[in-house]
Symmetry: C2
């Protein structure tokens, strides 16, 4: 049964107040799958169903934030407070940030003191930092505990902790002393001390680190969770592997959008409004209109040679596009390599040499192709002009394409700003200039 | 100390046979960090160091495959067999696939029977499938075991298993009956039966599933590991969260490269040879040269109107680029949304309506911009021609850009093949035609 059919069936059952049938219909599903169905039914019915499901907080946490906000406004206050109280702390903070001031004023007094403080603390961190991503639902151990004491402590904390598979050992000042995995714990003798089995070189990130660095650290060291420390070195939260995977995917989407000349962040494409889409796209388009005027100015400068040799116009789009295409390829390779860390700033010079050789080979291949066409349509001189132009245009395109991401990075911009449209426009302007300059050297102006 | 300095220091110590100093230098580092340093020193010295490190198999597994192959040819056979025997089964199979026939013939007889069979079995799966990604180092439980028996079994298997945090419950035919997490195990009473605490609706993938689907499943359900079953439903392997994260990153890189008109897979950009780079890039470039000839043919058809109104050439790159840029934006948004699953095939029609409205707004904005410039450079009629052309070109570009990924998907190609260069060329050809057609309707031909 697909989600739409399921939603219709569920809505019917809830409207008839037949909660036995409704809960049975979803009981074999995973929380995220139930959330996908709930997203399709009316808020009034959705909360009635959630009220009857044992794992409602988990399901609620999987809903998109805008649906959570819609549901929050129909939930009775006591139920809302209960569900929000049970949510993972990172999801809870996200929801809180999206509530209206009115909704916050209703919710906050109904929450326990500890939860209120947790929300205040976590919502203070800037978006897209480790602090905004982290959860405060984690277990900790003391170095002087025995293994059996540690296991008892974990059993107590397990229901509330995001993970107990990696646990962090801290002192009284919450300084990180080590990490111990549950695998090591269950293999160790019960009387052994935690300090003797813990790994004391702990990989961690700071609260203000970029979320992208958090995801990369988790990926590099194959971690299940990563401890987050504040400026004083005290443990303040953890980020888990599944959150890191979501961040990596979102960051790839952002880079992808930028590479296509779309300002980020737009969220889920299906749900984005026309207004947002327009706003995120219009800047680059209009910016590039003015950029392209440069190409036009070059053309105006060579009006005479064009008037005398109209065949040049025939090849104009082909030549300038080829430079742009080669440049887009180079830029794409560089932008992604910089994003994944395969290439760093100091590699630029050594890569430039290789790029020049590749560009020479590509340019030569394409020069052969275009010179044949040029000979058929024009004559030997046109053919020569085209071959020389193609070589130059492709070379210049590749050098611009591979260098622009580095330059942007150096200037403090995201290298992904070197989008295909931007590269195309820059390469077009230089391509037109090169082509018409070479043509003007070889062809008569009538 | 950076990796290069560390490599120099290590090489010196090993050459003096001072292995105490060498091992001390790296002992605080994580295996992957040690692997990064080892990649920089000579193979002969590298294996001498590895011989003295307790976790050499883990370190060796983190090296790039080409460095593993280089090391394999200097290792004495007995040591190579020992290291390879201890490697995780998925990494071992990858290495085996990259060895020469000669190296395989040396290695295989030195391995234990079970390892030989494991290599044969795993290397039979097609690249980029779940089977080629999975590991056979996992623990299993029986449904009739008690919790304390299960914990004892896990303690026995822990040293060899990739993860013991999620363990799969199978029957005698290896059919998947359920999954139990270590968290649940340590919370349950010792005498409880596994069948009463296991979750019986297990999420799994099949050996022939695309690795991208495996990564998406792990991401969707926040799994630590995913069981892989064969056609008969029997458990044959697991894929862990860290492998899923690497796959997701590689797949994003592939899509990114395709979007820039580079055929995949090229591996790490820094290490790729000039020859491979040329081969992966030349196809699209030459293909698009011929594609762009269409633009040229349109121009040839309108030679008279161009000759009489050379101002048209001035605006040619600007107009056709704008269509291409708008189209690239649309394509980029669609390609990524299809890749992440935010959008599916049946959404095309509903998205088309929204896209048309956005395109209308974008086109109108840009038409205003270009008509002002047109009025300054030309006259009122040129200005009108430009405004009308810009509207049409942007509309057509957006519709092509958003539809091409769907069409390619429908035809069985990867939607990411709708690269910026391809979209640009298609939009350019239609842009030139539209522009010159509109111009020929309004402007005299002299």
């Amino acid at each position: 049964m697909n989600n739409n059919d399921m939603a219709v069936k569920l809505s019917g059952a809830i409207e008839q107040q037949d909660f036995k049938r409704a809960t049975e219909a979803v009981q074999a599903l995973r929380p995220i799958d139930i959330a996908d169905v709930i997203a399709l039914i009316k808020p009034k019915l959705a909360w009635q169903l959630l009220e009857h499901l044992p794992n409602r907080s988990t399901i609620f946490a999987y809903l998109d934030t805008d649906i959570q906000v819609a549901l929050a406004s129909v939930f009775p206050r006591a139920i809302l407070a209960k569900i929000v109280g049970e949510m993972p702390s990172d999801e809870r903070t996200d929801l809180y940030k999206h509530l209206s001031q009115e909704q916050r004023d209703v919710l906050l007094p109904a929450l326990a003191q500890a939860e209120r403080e947790d929300i205040r603390r976590l919502s203070a961190y800037e978006e897209r930092t480790a602090g905004a991503l982290m959860s405060s639902d984690y277990a900790t151990l003391q170095a002087q505990m025995t293994v059996s004491e540690a296991l008892d402590a974990l059993r107590l904390e397990a229901p509330d902790a995001e993970t107990i598979y990696h646990t962090y050992v801290i002192d009284k000042m919450r300084q990180l002393l080590g990490v111990v995995s549950l695998r090591v714990l269950i293999l160790a003798p019960p009387e052994q001390l935690i300090k003797d089995i813990m790994l004391s070189s702990v990989i961690s990130c700071e609260v203000n680190d970029d979320q992208e660095d958090v995801a990369k650290t988790i990926a590099r060291y194959d971690l299940i969770s990563l401890p987050i420390i504040d400026a004083s070195g005290a443990l303040v939260g953890i980020v888990t592997h599944d959150d890191a995977m979501d961040v990596a995917s979102d960051e790839a989407t952002d880079d992808f959008h930028k590479s296509g000349g779309v300002s980020t962040v737009i969220g889920r494409l299906k749900d984005v409004s026309v207004r947002v889409l327009y706003r995120k796209r219009v800047f680059w388009l209009v910016f590039l209109v003015f950029g392209n005027l440069l190409s036009g100015l070059s053309i105006a400068n060579f009006e005479e040679v064009i008037a005398a040799n109209l065949v040049l116009v025939f090849f104009l789009p082909l030549l300038v596009d080829s430079g742009g295409n080669a440049g887009s390829q180079s830029a794409t390779l560089m932008v992604r390599a910089l994003a994944t860390g395969d290439v760093v700033m100091r590699d630029w010079f050594s890569l430039l040499g290789r790029e020049a050789i590749v560009a020479l080979m590509l340019g030569a291949t394409m020069a052969v192709a275009i010179s044949i066409i040029g000979y058929i349509r024009g004559d030997a001189i046109v053919s020569l002009v085209l071959a020389m132009s193609m070589m130059s245009v492709v070379m210049i395109g590749c050098v611009i394409g591979m260098s622009l991401p580095f330059i942007l990075n150096k200037l403090g911009f995201d290298p992904a700003t070197a989008s295909a449209p931007l590269i195309t426009s820059v390469c077009d302007a230089s391509g037109v200039l090169i082509y018409l300059f070479i043509a003007s050297q070889f062809l008569s102006i009538g």
